[in-house]
Symmetry: D3
């Protein structure tokens, strides 16, 4: 139930019986050996699955986010934070005007967090608009699974190495986590992070990944029940 | 050769031998019986084909454009024009900083035209940046094919009814083109355009569509030769 | 009936019987041998004539537009596109608040087209605001006259060489139209266009010019009848 | 030597021998019985005279300024202050890029004062850009003449009643100056100011006006000598 | 009665009986031998005294203003004018939403004047919002006291040398006022102003300072009576 | 060593031997029974102490942050997120131009986090600018102390109840932590949070507070050693 497979009549009919919308935001940025679109592919896969279970429609993903940090890695296409705020505002307002009153944003990228501040401004402007925000990798669900298997989640390590985000072989050894350099320019960030992973195992068992995915999916399905 | 199938090492290697990039912009808006993402699907299909022929990489599409006009049709998610200008600027600047010096923007949506003004500002700022812009449906190629078959191209009529943009049955009769209402609010626009098509045949022969596609593809391949 | 010849009492009285306004926008940019204000002089002359026929008042012209393209030609004073959008918004909103509900914008410059996108946003905000936009040189009327005399309209050629836009002698020979260079920086644009004309005859018969002017004037008078 | 009477060749030639430019800004706003364009007509007349004496070219006037205050008076077309700042920036930057390095801005309207703050930012950005700002009615010259004749200068009173700003009969009696109401909304401002004049005599002797004009003209000619 | 000494319950109770608020704006900029926060310390001291007399609460000061001009003097931290306008807007709107309907802004810095333009826009948006603006050093009160003692008020001279703004010894001799250089870059401004004072005596008798302070305080108390 | 106690000569001398600066940002917002300026008072106290130990100068605090969330609590004065980004940019750029090359921002408010995104843009623009960001309550130091005493840190509970942030009696019982309501409008937030505390103990032993303070102070002193 993606917008791309629907026409406007479909949406009009949908809105007669439902007012929920899933929006997907993420980034186009380096993920070490993984796809440059990793931060879109994961929340979109979750959105698709949740849509299948719940019938809630999925808006097209915003394929770019705030990735200034990684701009020295080729293939990273980044929005200024001010632009990101405006895009998220426009999409939410557009949807709201068409009577999508309950919007779940599934976010795949940490750098997009400032958008939450703009969303607080929007719910102040439109009191009957309800927005929920889910950054999947920050959920208790992911934390629980990771701890269960003694894995530490981090950018571009096993955590994001789903079958559908892999575009090349992954290293089999572990990487020593680089020291987080604080607020530095892209060049320094690249020096610090080398291949781009934040360290730990590059991959793990498919079953762990499935467990992570399922846990997040359950979170999402619950969040889509706006009555709770 | 889409970004989503590559990682940053791939792009770094690519940039050692090439500095061209294809960007795809369009809209998420009503297209009568066709997909809400019609304006993305067409330029993206052209970009994929051109990429296959030329090896030029394709950035992720910007799935939204300026569609205020159609905002009374559910499923239309629109950016303010100021936001659109900023997004296009950010993506081009981001790519330019990574040494993509020759960028072809394949545009699928008329409402995005104001972005050209911002691009003129960017090439003034970065003198060695070269940008080309291709609005496929405005090309002489499309005009020629359309005239050859006595068809009039218009929003959401046969012109955009490719196999891959269809998401439902299409009417078989023709539609009388509505009178273009000028600068009016979304509600009036919806009243005027009814099902959303700008009139004429809703579909035509697959061979005509293939001819259109091939003609545009040739245009694009030629535009990607930045020496001419 | 220009604002400059009126005081606020006059406008207050006018608004008791009429709610129409003519706004004139254009550019201050190179027009080869013609006046730098060509893009203002033409729509303003049309506005004055239309005002004489219809009694509709004419706001002061906005003497600048988006002319980044021509900035390497001295005397071109250009607005960023974001600024242009804001100015047009402010003027329209200001007029609307004073109960000018029907506004005809006569535009003299192609680079100002992005302003239309902002106008679509304004009519969405103010549902009882009606705006019409007339880019005189793009009208069917001009096309018809030009074809009748076998002339091709283009920037700074005969099309804009009215008696009142001439500030020097004009070449008598024709110019071979330069190849349109796409989105290039001001320096390249100047190299391509040389004296600044887009080619063809630099001037034509005064009667042709009068015919063009009359045809546009009729268009405008018709557009000012907001009932049609 | 207005831009409107010149083409770009003329400006190019001019710039070979001079790098000075006069810019005129003002407002389109209520001036009681005087022209709505009073704040443009006066600085433009001064600019024309100064141009005649010195040969310095005059850019087209910006016909609008910050007049929110008077927006309840019909015919007042106002820019938001943010827009005003951007317009002034764009015009100055445009001129500077063409090697106008010494710019005198003749301002006809008090509400435009915030633009000075942006100009301070511009001279910081372009160290060899020199800008002077002349608000004619605030000059010591005007003060001196006014005191000499026992007249108090104020908005829309005798001070601005030049022959070329009059568009109707002027009252012959004096007006008691209204109490300045501080930061109030347009409606209150209109209640306070009534016919729009800030009080005192509505007109004075033509010779006084000529003396004012000459005094300002001398100021301007002196300011145009950027060596002092 | 500063916000810092109150919690939100206190403000809620206050708003049951009063709807007035004192806001303090100024600058962090060079003041010759005086504190870098001189432009905050003075209006804040006035605000505190007025609060003591009237019970009106005082919002935290905005410690920065538009000081581009003095940016070559270390310790000057300046806001762009556009930022300043936005901050003032946000604070006023925030307060207004909580039912502070009568706001007195005590301003300590001349460069903040453009904020008044934004305030005019705000009172147009919120008709029942009343704002008063007091730039203490421009008051008739200060002028009167200064004239009485034959002192000329100027930036960073005796006028601002209160006991609480002194952070070092002050020169005992007078300074010849530098020529006001117009709109120049920070470097030139520093060359012109040297130690940063605009000239005249660096200090005067404490009794004069007390008289100035009392005169301003009376002004403020009167302004806080929004009925007059 | 606060700016307010220094003049520009002092800063100029300081910059001859040091290029570090402490900036303090926070919020003016409800903190239950604590001061509305709690989020400023704490980082400022830390900054003062760190300054005493290290000699690094402290810029005036920005007394406002992004607090839209709490705007239904009177006394909360909030900046839009876009404004906040601009203010932080301006202050950092201003300081950087005066050769403060190493800036530590001590942040007292979670809502200010989006500013980090703008800072990443700034270090990209000024490669020799180094910025560190310290949100004291998120430090491992605070976590350690809190765990040691079995206390859970939260907004407006014991964590922020220093002697210098108290402005009234504090409840002696504990509060059941309200359920975090996600992205909701101010009114709902107030309903959920009641007195404004996020729950747990309202106060704890002074010795615990001193331990927290010391731990943060050590962090800051270490961060001020930019060589590590």
């Amino acid at each position: 139930m993606r917008f791309e497979d629907l026409n406007w009549f479909d949406i009009e009919n949908y809105l007669k019986r439902d007012d929920r919308l899933i929006m997907v935001i993420g980034a186009c940025e380096q993920h070490a050996y993984l796809s440059l679109l990793t931060d879109i592919k994961i929340p979109l896969a979750l959105a698709d699955s949740a849509s299948q279970k719940t019938g809630v429609v999925v808006a097209p993903p915003l394929n770019f986010g705030c990735s200034k940090y990684f701009e020295a890695y080729p293939g990273t296409l980044s929005l200024r934070v001010s632009t990101m705020l405006d895009v998220v505002e426009d999409l939410v307002v557009s949807a709201y005007k068409q009577c999508f009153k309950k919007i779940l944003i599934i976010n795949g990228h940490g750098g997009n967090d400032p958008a939450r501040s703009r969303l607080f401004e929007l719910v102040d402007r439109f009191p009957d608009l309800r927005i929920r925000w889910y950054s999947w990798w920050l959920s208790h669900s992911v934390e629980t699974v990771a701890m269960k298997y003694g894995l530490k989640p981090a950018h571009a390590n096993w955590l994001e190495a789903f079958s559908f985000t892999r575009v090349s072989e992954l290293p089999t050894q572990e990487k020593k986590p680089p020291v987080h350099p604080g607020i530095v320019c892209p060049k320094v960030a690249r020096n610090v992070y080398g291949d781009g992973s934040f360290g730990g195992a590059y991959q793990t068992d498919e079953m762990v990944m499935a467990e992570i995915f399922q846990a997040c999916l359950l979170d999402i399905i619950q969040l889509l029940d706006f009555e709770t």
